[in-house]
């Protein structure tokens, strides 16, 4: 689906992409990782036809720079930093839907599923939304159409656990008919979502590896954490994951998305001194 051949990009003499060659098939879910300045964003911008470069980039055999509208009609993009748009939310949805040939109602539906009260913010300026709301809306615009290529830069970074769970569900619905590229500084943020990892460093691909597809996008885990005693700090953390507390057994229990297990364990690890028992059981499909 995507072909990059010896792609090189230079900014004022500095080589930011250094002869990148890559093939990506339909249905692949790629973690594009690397530190700041590794070339991830530049690579994404070349894929979106936003940068001129040496070498060849094609999506379904078409050059995204030359046939922008045709290629980008198939692409859903979520940037890492939301743009400071002054237009109202409703206007942004109508604009994006009009260009992408989709119904605004589809975008509204995804936004509602992510927990965004879209009707209440339709006339509010996009730039005045909170970070999480902006992220949800941009995800809804990217997923509220028949995109065959999803390019997402740190897509779940600003989402609360509940919205992340739903986000993974929506991605799971698209697994078979879309290719996904998720860019992140850290592999643990996206590792459970992908079946291929590409690591970049100083404009080159230094690792390109397939990973076992555990089907974690669909999965759910029942979790129980028993504490030595009740504690307000861990209570605040687990309440944000919608866990409930049983004072009699000083146990917290709740459900997490399979793709979120590493992130969840990272949260719990801050309170290991309090934990006497931790149980995570994957539900059968």
């Amino acid at each position: 689906m995507i072909r990059l051949e010896n792609v090189t990009k230079t900014f004022r003499g500095a080589r930011v992409l250094d002869g990148i060659s890559l093939n990506v098939d339909l249905g692949e879910r790629i973690a594009l990782i690397g530190s700041n300045g590794a070339g991830k964003t530049t690579l994404i911008r070349c894929l979106l036809g936003e940068y001129v470069h040496d070498g060849v980039v094609t999506v379904d055999g078409i050059n995204p720079r030359k046939a922008r509208a045709e290629v980008l009609a198939q692409v859903g993009f979520v940037p890492q930093l939301p743009p400071p748009l002054k237009m109202p939310v409703g206007q942004l949805i109508n604009f994006a839907a009009g260009l992408c040939g989709t119904e605004p109602a589809r975008i509204d539906d995804i936004a509602r599923r992510l927990g965004l009260q879209i009707d209440g913010i339709r006339s509010r300026q996009f730039v005045r939304l909170s970070g999480g709301m902006k992220q949800k809306l941009l995800i809804a615009i990217a997923l509220g159409r028949d995109a065959r290529l999803l390019i997402m830069d740190e897509p779940a970074a600003n989402l609360d656990p509940e919205a992340r769970k739903i986000f993974f569900d929506i991605l799971a619905e698209r697994v078979k008919d879309a290719t996904m590229i998720m860019s992140s500084h850290r592999l643990d943020e996206v590792s459970a979502l992908v079946n291929r990892v590409i690591e970049m460093d100083t404009g080159r691909i230094v690792l390109d590896d397939k990973v076992a597809d555990m089907g974690t996008l669909h999965s759910r885990l029942d979790c129980q954490i028993v504490l030595k005693h009740a504690d307000p700090a861990i209570a605040k953390a687990l309440e944000s994951w919608k866990f409930s507390f049983d004072p009699a057994s000083t146990a917290w229990s709740g459900e997490i998305a399979g793709a979120d297990r590493l992130r969840f364990l990272g949260v719990v690890s801050r309170y290991t001194g309090l934990v006497t028992k931790l149980d995570m059981t994957e539900r059968p499909h």
Partner: protein, 275 residues
């Protein structure tokens, strides 16, 4: 065309909410209000009284303010949007570069022309209510002049925005462009004429290449059809164009200059990195 109109509409909506637009509208609306308030329609200059007097003053003030305002606000918002990541996101949507650039141009044109025109309409409406005679010919020609002026400097602004990569550079270049036109109104031109002893035809040609000078002379021609205040230069201009011909030139040339500049800007924009 759908992409084009969507982009134009988007730019209009974004501009209407921007602070620069509020200031811009306030400035031109305020000028007309002040001119009425200070009783300019009652004063007489060169035989002009009533709304003609007001329109003459208004066009002079507009010529001083509009070019720098259009240049700075255009480059600030276009280059600023690019720096802030607006281009990165909006150009990831399926819109052709043609539709994006020209949609933005048309949207911005409507936004910068409307307040200036609306102020003139306001003046006419008020004059009608006050039973002051409306000089429709002058109103129509000044409207055309303002439309051409807006087109001209918007074109320059779009060209500068396409070339400059940062807001600071774009702003600096816009200011220098305006300054260059301003200096060539009189100062440099006079200096060149005295020092180099160039032919008057060449000096007039240089002056007429400057859109600011073209507007100034056209505005003068409305109350001084023989351009007596220009001295001997008037002979060259009127021999070349004739009175009516110059009026047409003063509208067509700057408008074309603006479109050609924007066209060059589009070529630069299309060939380079977008965000």
């Amino acid at each position: 065309m759908k992409q084009f109109w969507l982009t134009a509409r988007l730019d209009i909506v974004e501009s209407l909410r921007a602070r620069w637009f509020q200031v811009y509208t306030l400035v031109f609306g305020g000028i007309v209000a002040l001119l009425f308030l200070f009783g300019l329609t009652e004063s007489r200059v060169l035989g002009f009284i009533g709304l003609s007097r007001l329109l003459v003053t208004y066009i002079q003030l507009t010529m001083a303010i509009l070019p720098i305002f259009v240049l700075i606000t255009t480059v600030r918002s276009v280059a600023g949007d690019r720096e802030a990541g607006v281009f990165e996101y909006l150009l990831s949507l399926p819109v052709s570069l043609w539709a994006w650039f020209w949609g933005k141009f048309v949207g911005r044109y409507i936004v910068i022309f409307m307040p200036v025109f609306a102020a003139m309409v306001l003046a006419v409406a008020w004059a009608t209510v006050q039973n002051i005679e409306v000089p429709w010919g002058m109103f129509a020609y000044y409207t055309a002049l303002i439309a051409a002026m807006a087109m001209c400097f918007l074109g320059f602004g779009m060209l500068i925005s396409s070339i400059a990569r940062t807001t600071d550079v774009a702003q600096g270049a816009a200011f220098l462009t305006w300054l260059l036109f301003l200096l060539f109104l009189d100062l440099i031109l006079l200096g060149v004429m005295i020092q180099e002893r160039i032919a008057p035809e060449l000096a007039v040609t240089i002056a007429l290449a400057n859109p600011l000078q073209v507007f100034r002379t056209a505005a003068l021609s409305m109350f001084d059809p023989h351009l007596i205040v220009l001295g001997p230069s008037a002979y060259v201009i009127l021999d070349l164009f004739g009175t009516e011909g110059y009026k047409v030139f003063a509208v067509v040339y700057p408008a074309l200059l603006g479109i050609v500049s924007a066209g060059l800007g589009f070529l630069v924009f299309r060939r380079g990195d977008l965000p």
